[in-house]
């Protein structure tokens, strides 16, 4: 709270221009360490404005966090010979590996469809399907399934009303990055809205990196797979043989 207060006082001293958003994050980097269990990020900020508050419209804030995009395939199962088998697929050209939207109110009410299309805010619009032979209805059902599955895993989140907005000036929210997030640069967008339109937007980034050992292991696995395989075998032989040798020593 003290941070917010200082931020707010600082704003008062500045020469006033339009309605603008200023934001901060509780952390700019997340390390995927051995005991990583997920991470909570506090996003806070303030609105600075030159005019007194207009009475006829409400101020709204939307915050999105978007993980690095991935090419994905959504499979649908059907019963074949009594067992459930993946039968149909829809390719997704790019789907964010993580996507969270927090708002000050119901997304459909505070955001016009046009603004959503331009700024690609709702989860549905953050996903780019590949063009395929399947008819649009079919394609949509696969994309909705992708959202449903990932919502279940905490990878896609929508928190309508998840942002606290105080006196139309100070706002804050907490978003949870689950333990299954991938490495990369996560973009955090803070959008200011009036009458369904975006009036200001800032973007900042969160770096999600594997910690030293994990990073080194993954790199080795993908770039020097033969060396990595040898390491895996060495460890297996070392521990497998070493441990039983140790137990033999202990018994004697």
């Amino acid at each position: 709270m003290r941070v917010l207060l200082i931020l707010w006082l600082g704003l008062l001293a500045l020469p006033l221009r339009a309605e603008e958003v200023i934001a901060g994050l509780s952390q700019r980097s997340v390390a995927l360490t051995v005991n990583f269990e997920g991470s909570e990020i506090l996003i806070y900020g303030a609105v600075r404005r030159e005019e007194p508050l207009p009475d006829d419209s409400d101020l709204n804030v939307i915050i999105t966090i978007e993980g690095p995009p991935q090419t994905t395939v959504v499979w649908r199962k059907a019963r074949r010979l009594g067992i459930w088998v993946n039968t149909d697929r829809q390719d997704i050209r790019a789907a964010p590996s993580f996507y969270a939207v927090a708002t000050t109110g119901p997304l459909r009410e505070i955001l016009s469809q046009d603004a959503d299309l331009t700024h690609r805010i709702s989860t549905r619009l953050a996903i780019f399907e590949a063009r395929g032979a399947a008819d649009p209805m079919e394609r949509a059902s696969f994309t909705e399934a992708l959202i449903r599955v990932r919502e279940g895993q905490g990878l896609y989140q929508q928190h309508d009303g998840g942002i606290d907005l105080e006196r139309e000036t100070l706002f804050s929210t907490r978003l949870t990055l689950p333990k299954t997030i991938v490495e990369g640069r996560y973009a955090a967008r803070i959008l200011l809205l009036r009458d369904g339109e975006v009036i200001d937007e800032v973007e900042t980034f969160i770096d999600v990196r594997k910690a030293f050992l994990e990073h080194w292991l993954t790199n080795l696995a993908y770039e020097q797979p033969f060396l990595y395989g040898s390491l895996a075998l060495f460890l297996a032989v070392f521990f497998g043989w070493g441990a039983s040798a140790l137990f033999r020593l202990m018994r004697n």
């Binding site: 995927l32 360490t33 051995v34 005991n35 990583f36 269990e37 991935q70 090419t71 994905t72 395939v73 959504v74 499979w75 649908r76 199962k77 059907a78 019963r79 009594g82 067992i83 459930w84 088998v85 993946n86 697929r89 590996s97 696969f142 399934a145 992708l146 449903r148 599955v149 990932r150 279940g152 333990k179 299954t180 991938v182 594997k210 050992l213 994990e214 990073h215 292991l217 993954t218 696995a221 993908y222 797979p225 033969f226 990595y228 395989g229 040898s230 390491l231 895996a232 075998l233 460890l235 297996a236 032989v237 521990f239 497998g240 043989w241 441990a243 039983s244 040798a245 137990f247």
Partner: protein
């Protein structure tokens, strides 16, 4: 305490992992089985992607069989000639298995293939084990029952390219051991198991090898085939998770030591029935997941990930 698995890209509870490794290690100490056929499906159940579970399972097999094979080599209870023939078959089989595994991965069917092979093999092994141990239980109560005759000659043994296996005292064609080794190699690549549960009976009943060299020779083949398969998975799929392997191995070696001691104090027949029931339960769980209508018909795979 959670452990982040860098290759599987998720975290799992460290004690769950040590428990899986330790529990299976105990069973392998008690029964002299490798336990790969239990580790891999247990990893599925705790949320490790099947591709990673298979590749890491086969890495764990190397650790669990290495000290055994060294002990057998020292005691000279390894038929190196037979072991080499089985190994050549195993390497060929492993290559075929890896090729098939990667093909099915691309087609999005690998999870299904792995699960189906587990249902099939666990069902067969569990069923046979249960039958065998029930029969042994009856036999121990009724000692006058006739014994089975060992070492019969089949037409298989008379195929061309006959070879003398001195340690085993056999003069048979190289094709049966090659085929046995190959089958085991395919299983190692697709299921992440050592394959002892198939090879040991095949060596005794099909090849007619004397029992005293069977375990050592099969461990000899398993160690090298598992090492080769680990390397192939690491190079082609990048799916071996070293962090996961270490926890399984540590749990496994400690579990095996406890298991060996516990096993000496318990009655073998009852234990064998318990193991058979456990294998059937794991088989049933996987089969149930395949047969029961899933709660979510859709699933998501990410290119280049598991």
């Amino acid at each position: 305490m959670q452990v982040y698995l860098p290759i599987a890209e998720t975290s799992v509870n460290a004690f769950t992992l040590l428990g899986v490794g330790g529990g299976v290690g105990m069973l392998s100490g008690m029964f002299g089985v490798g336990g790969g056929f239990l580790i891999t499906p247990l990893l599925f159940f705790i949320g490790v992607p099947p591709t990673v579970a298979v590749a890491t399972g086969v890495n764990q097999v190397v650790a669990s069989s290495i000290s055994g094979v060294l002990a057998h080599l020292k005691r000279k209870t390894v038929d190196l000639q037979m072991g080499t023939v089985l190994l050549i078959g195993g390497l060929i089989g492993s290559l075929i298995g890896i090729w098939f595994f990667n093909l099915m991965s691309r087609l999005g069917q690998i999870d299904l293939i792995v699960q189906l092979s587990y249902v099939l093999f666990l069902g067969i092994i569990g069923g046979l084990m249960l039958q065998e141990s029930l029969r042994a239980l009856i036999r121990s109560k009724n000692p006058s029952a006739p014994k089975r005759k060992l070492h019969k000659h089949y037409w298989l043994h008379n195929l061309p390219f006959k070879m003398k296996f001195r340690t085993s005292g056999l003069y048979i064609s190289v094709f049966p051991p090659l085929l046995v080794g190959m089958g085991v190699g395919v299983l190692a690549a697709i299921m992440g198991v050592g394959g002892g549960f198939i090879m040991v009976p095949a060596m005794i009943y099909l090849l007619g090898m004397p029992t005293k060299v069977v375990i050592g020779t099969s461990l000899f083949q398993i160690t090298f085939v598992a090492a080769f398969t680990t390397m192939m998975h690491a190079v082609t799929n990048h799916s071996v998770d070293v962090m996961l392997a270490i926890f399984l191995i540590l749990g496994g070696v400690v579990g095996a030591q406890i298991g060996t001691r516990v096993g000496l104090k318990l009655k073998a027949e009852q234990l064998r029935i318990a193991l058979a029931l456990l294998v059937l339960a794991v088989c049933g769980k996987i089969a149930f997941d395949l047969l029961w209508p899933p709660a979510e018909l859709y699933s998501v795979t990410v290119l280049g990930r598991f």
